[in-house]
């Protein structure tokens, strides 16, 4: 187990290094530079001022030199300065990360719980009315665009019923636990509905396959109670492939959160990374993207470790 974890973490480090190089190169290839964007907002900006600004932000240096400097700084623990926020990168990313974690973890947990329950119910009587109904809801969750779902929820609960706030992370002057919780209800619901639909289909498929296995028939023939057969024997094995899907989805929740964060005006990681790419804020974009990559790699690793717990026949080498 220890050797396996060490090897995988070393692999992750190499992947991160390659990714950093690729991302840096891609951002560097984008047309235009931030100073041009600034000049567009300030018609009076002279070429001399533009030259000064390029020098200040290091944009007059060759791309590879900038990358090498950035890499050396990262290795010494300095994540650099965000040009668009005028503050150190970690200072900018930390609150955004906390916000996204709140949103992601709550919605991920709810998605998993809902999908396991609905997936199992669906699989018990495939083709039945309950299965059809759950299938319809799950497909709706998969098919409806996140931004549209978000807008519908805002119109229903914030504009029409006026029960919940339409946006933001808290009310100025309040910001207590319950206030923040109220502000999270709609974004969490949006993200949960979008993910639960997808997970439900996977759980259903895995459960149907598992319930047809010989050892389940044996368990039933032995006279074991149906709940015991389903929860103890079938579900545990059915979850092995599903855990992989869920782990991979956990990493991609960042991109899912981008739309949700934008719609509900929550400054989280997804939105911050997106904005930083658009504005050529190299340090912020890279740190954010590398963090997202790291989350994906660690999620995969966690999934692999989870297999050995779910299925004792699987050993990690």
């Amino acid at each position: 187990m220890f050797a396996f974890l060490t090897r995988r973490l070393l692999q992750a480090a190499v992947v991160l290094l390659v990714m950093s190089f690729v991302i840096y190169g891609l951002i560097g290839l984008m047309p235009g530079d931030p100073v041009d964007i600034m000049a567009a907002s300030m018609p009076g900006m002279t070429p001399e001022v533009m030259k000064n600004l390029r020098a200040i932000y290091g944009l007059d240096q060759p791309l590879m030199l900038r990358y090498a400097r950035w890499l050396m700084a990262i290795l010494s623990g300095d994540f650099g300065f965000s040009r668009t926020h005028s503050r150190p990168v970690l200072e900018v990313l930390t609150p955004a990360l906390l916000q996204t974690c709140k949103l992601m973890l709550i919605s991920f947990f709810l998605s998993v719980v809902i999908s396991v329950v609905l997936g199992v119910i669906s699989a018990l009587k495939p083709g039945g009315w309950l299965d059809t109904l759950i299938g319809f809801v799950a497909f709706a969750g998969i098919s409806i665009p996140v931004f549209w779902l978000a807008l519908i929820l805002i119109i229903a609960f914030a504009v029409t019923l006026q029960w919940l706030p339409a946006s933001g992370m808290g009310k100025v002057g309040d910001y207590g636990f319950w206030d923040q919780a109220r502000h999270l209800i709609l974004p969490v619901t949006t993200l949960t509905l979008a993910n639960a639909g997808q997970f439900t289909r996977y759980v259903r498929a895995a459960m149907i396959e598992t319930l047809q296995a010989d050892y389940i028939r044996t368990a039933r023939a032995k006279g074991l109670a149906p709940p015991r057969v389903i929860l103890l024997h079938a579900l545990r094995n059915a979850l092995v492939p599903v855990v992989t899907i869920m782990a991979l989805s956990f990493g991609t929740l960042f991109s899912g959160a981008l739309v949700t964060e934008t719609m509900f005006a929550q400054m989280g990681m997804g939105k911050m990374i997106f904005d930083s790419i658009l504005s050529n804020d190299f340090n912020l974009a890279l740190t954010g993207l590398l963090f997202a990559t790291l989350v994906t790699l660690l999620s995969n690793l966690a999934a692999d470790v989870a297999y050995s717990f779910l299925d004792p026949r699987i050993t990690l080498k």
Partner: protein, 553 residues
């Protein structure tokens, strides 16, 4: 019955968790952009100057009538009142001495006085290229600043400039001074400034409001500056809230989470506001203020087809711009003849106008040797088609609609335009910057009141590889007389002669037609009916520069 009971239960539960209606001592403004930092002189952004309009006052600003006025000075310096003198400079040149008298009772929000030392400090650090200052009205115009007393400073300009009495914000030397001194050597003042590191420091602000809350990428909270000597601000709190998605921004407006949407180009687009007005005519006050944002089409003068003035004129005569603005913007955006807005004091009525005249366009084309072919598109004697590429920023729905209308207009005059759009980054960052467009390019220019057209029309601002693609004269316009007039207008102090120079510039522009003028964009403001004292300006000195007059009724 069961459903009704459930809904009633929901309603009761909802009323328990719903927030109470916000009192009128708070104003929440929805915006679709967020400032990168709050330093007034670094990284020019519309949203930043809008936000700072509540908290830091420029020395002077143009008011709603487009007249230059004092904000934190006692009297606008002029030659007539003796606060401005023409002086001899070394080398036989003429320069100027401008005396600025700051209001004596003006204080930063921490209680420190705003003094001439602050002005001198601001000028000094603006001259350091490592600070990255980029002002609308550069401090570098002054070569020397003498502090006379607490409230008086004399600025020496090394040349005569018409913009001698236009000056931006001053910085608090008691806060920023030590930071600058420490950061000067490393050249990282830009990273250390308190405006970025501790933006809620009261001493950074001298306006009616000060920043008391700053959540990067989310919202900025402003509260009254206790030391503000002017009109008492009407709100206990102003919140500038970021909601990037405009559909969500509208929903927030309707739900009451946001009271108003700023019209200064940081909120909703004009078509969205017009649609909102159609759906909710009585819920808000809608104000449409023509602005200095000039929408136009650049013409590639390297294209042989466009080198013929008759073709350029035919393009303008056959573009039904009036109908375009009426159909798309309900006539709220006035048609332009040149880059100068009719609201400007330098506007010249006598410049050439181009009303919609399809017959004239066709006769001009015939005169230039273009005859309609079997497919309705003109051809010349060599059989070349009158076909031109037409680009703009992809994904901008309004511009794409404008393109379709114009494409249809021109087709009727036997001109074919082929639409070729690019993402904004590519369009501005590569294509326009390097003048790589082949025919027509549509976009907007914004400028300040009375700003010189040097950057867009002077020969020395044509971007070339040699000058690192600097300047914004993307049309490669080079006219000796125009250059002379630009030089002269920047230094002419006599208002009548100024007007003459500007009138001639507009005549040259309208006659030469280096671009197709379209219209002046209108600011579209959505404000609550209970908000009083709100007066949009239509230019870069925003309505919030007078926000102490805003109050609820």
């Amino acid at each position: 019955m069961r459903l009704t009971t459930s809904l009633a239960a929901f309603a009761v539960a909802g009323s328990l968790i719903a927030s109470p209606a916000s009192a009128k001592d708070q104003l929440t403004i929805g915006v679709a952009q967020f400032p990168s930092s709050l330093h007034p002189n670094i990284d020019a952004e519309v949203i930043k100057s809008y936000t700072l309009g509540f908290a830091i006052r420029q020395i002077t600003a143009y008011d709603k009538d487009w007249k230059n006025t004092c904000l934190i000075c006692t009297e606008l310096p002029t030659l007539q009142n003796g606060l401005v003198k023409i002086v001899d400079m070394p080398g036989g040149k003429k320069g100027m001495q401008v005396t600025i008298k700051l209001k004596p009772d003006l204080k930063w929000a921490d209680g420190e006085k705003v003094t001439a030392k602050d002005l001198e400090f601001t000028w000094r650090i603006a001259g350091d290229p490592k600070t990255g200052f980029s002002n609308g009205h550069p401090w570098t115009r002054a070569v020397k600043v003498d502090v006379v007393d607490d409230s008086t400073a004399v600025l020496t300009l090394d040349k005569v400039l018409a913009s001698y009495n236009e000056w931006d914000q001053v910085l608090p030397s008691h806060i920023e001074g030590p930071i600058y001194e420490k950061a000067k050597e490393a050249g990282d003042y830009i990273k250390q400034t308190a405006y970025a590191r501790t933006p809620t420091t009261p001493g950074l602000y001298n306006g009616p409001y000060m920043v008391t809350g700053y959540q990067s990428g989310a919202q900025i909270v402003l509260e009254p500056n206790p030391h503000w000597p002017g009109t008492k601000p009407g709100f206990k709190r102003i919140i500038i809230k970021l909601i990037e998605n405009t559909a969500a921004l509208q929903a927030n407006l309707l739900s009451g989470d946001v009271d108003m949407v700023a019209g200064e180009g940081v909120g909703l687009t004009i078509d969205q506001v017009l649609e909102l007005r159609k759906q909710q005519p009585d819920k808000f006050t809608y104000i449409f203020k023509p602005s200095l944002n000039y929408e136009h089409i650049d013409l590639q003068n390297g294209n042989p087809l466009l080198q013929d003035i008759r073709v350029r004129q035919a393009l303008v005569y056959s573009a039904d711009r009036k109908t375009l603005t009426e159909r798309l913007f309900q006539g709220m955006q006035p048609v332009a003849d040149t880059w100068v807005n009719p609201l400007s004091s330098t506007y010249a009525k006598e410049a050439m106008h181009y009303p919609y005249d399809l017959a004239k366009a066709k006769s001009l084309l015939a005169e230039a040797g273009w005859k309609p072919g079997p497919d309705g598109i003109c051809r010349n004697d060599k059989g070349d088609r009158l076909s031109i590429e037409f680009g703009t920023t992809a994904g901008n729905r309004l511009r794409e609609l404008q393109q379709q209308v114009l494409q249809n207009n021109w087709k009727q005059a036997c001109i074919e335009v082929r639409i070729k759009n690019e993402p904004a980054r590519t369009f501005f960052g590569e294509t326009m910057k390097k003048r790589a467009y082949s025919g027509l390019a549509m976009y907007a220019w914004s400028s300040n009141v009375g700003a010189s057209p040097r950057r867009t029309l002077a020969s020395d601002n044509i971007p070339t590889e040699a000058n690192g693609w600097g300047g914004a004269n993307y049309i490669n316009f080079s006219n000796k007389r125009m250059d002379e007039l630009i030089d002269r207008s920047e230094t002419e102090l006599d208002p009548d002669k100024q007007k003459e120079d500007w009138a001639e510039m507009q005549k040259i522009y309208a006659a030469e037609l280096p671009v197709i003028p379209l219209f002046f964009r209108a600011e579209a403001h959505v404000v609550p009916k209970w908000l009083k004292g709100y007066e949009p300006t239509g230019h870069g000195d925003w309505s919030c520069f007078w926000s102490e007059n805003w109050r609820s009724e």
